[in-house]
Point group: C2
DNA sequence: CTGATAATGAGAACCGTTATCAATATGCGG
DNA sequence: CCGCATATTGATAACGGTTCTCATTATCAG
């Protein structure tokens, strides 16, 4: 796996060490995929080893983010979610306010318009956040049950 | 002021009462303008009356949001900011990562493309968040001092 | 004026995240 | 394989922003 190599390189460059917990967290994270909240990740990690602490999970995800293997995302609701990022292109998100599903999309024309708008205000864009909140196909007609606040 | 009337109506409809603190918070909020963080608002309110509690300011802003006079915004960085919203049209934001300046903009073409993207994924959009982070004209050449994390 | 009830202030509680720190694990040099 | 320097861990305290609790105080209709 390329992720393993990238993490190794990062650890070595910083003079850091390997650890059982670090490898477990990475394995669970990459093995799950999607946009995992730290809370969900902790639960999954602990089902494999209940003694892993929350601090270790947070620390490990920060490491993965530093070496470009994971990207932290802050959707509405407070907690941070991480998505796997090994060599993936830029994209934005559609979030279902009923079931919480998160869909990725990329639209070059929107990006171009964003850059143009920024330029017209004298801004040089460094990054952006575009999130569309709504209801996915399955939830369109279904009653709203669990609320993901828009 | 229309805001006063709207707040009165809202209070009456819910059987709520007026209070010195409520009026002070509203007055300071509308008198300041911009995208005020609750922390900044508390400071300004307290310079007029140091005994107003944080809870009261939070509660009052929630009221103003409920009756459509203020919109809460969560830019990167954790705290909630409120912007006055009396009859204002939808818009998005440019945020300077160096000085924290927040500029509003509206772009109909981006909105259209957003709706189209959502539709192509089967989503019905309820709301969206578009934030462009970068450096404003003044900060383009200036060294980065205070960091507003992008 | 009075009573019913809403609003307040102070501080505790809360939630997600980070810091602290003693105990433990890693892994290089030998 | 050993021992040691040092990175890592887990438990828990601390943190920042926000909300809750609750006894006290203010509002306002009658």
């Amino acid at each position: 796996m390329a992720a393993r190599a990238a993490l190794d390189t990062h650890l070595e460059r910083l003079g850091l060490k390997h650890s059982r917990q670090r490898e477990l967290v990475a394995e669970v994270f990459f093995g799950t995929g999607g946009h995992l909240s730290v809370e969900e990740l902790i639960q999954r990690v602990r089902s494999a080893d209940p003694r892993v602490s929350v601090a270790t999970v947070y620390r490990t995800m920060k490491l993965l983010a530093e070496c470009g293997l994971a990207v932290p995302r802050q959707f509405d609701g407070g907690q941070t979610r991480y998505e796997p990022a090994a060599g993936r292109a830029h994209h934005d998100h559609l979030i279902c306010t009923a079931c919480g599903e998160i869909v990725e999309f990329a639209n070059e024309r929107i990006e171009v318009l964003q850059a143009r708008v920024a330029q017209s205000h004298g801004f040089e864009v460094e990054s952006h956040k575009l999130e569309l909140y709504g209801r996915c196909t399955r939830c369109r007609r279904a009653p709203r049950l669990a609320g993901v606040r828009p």
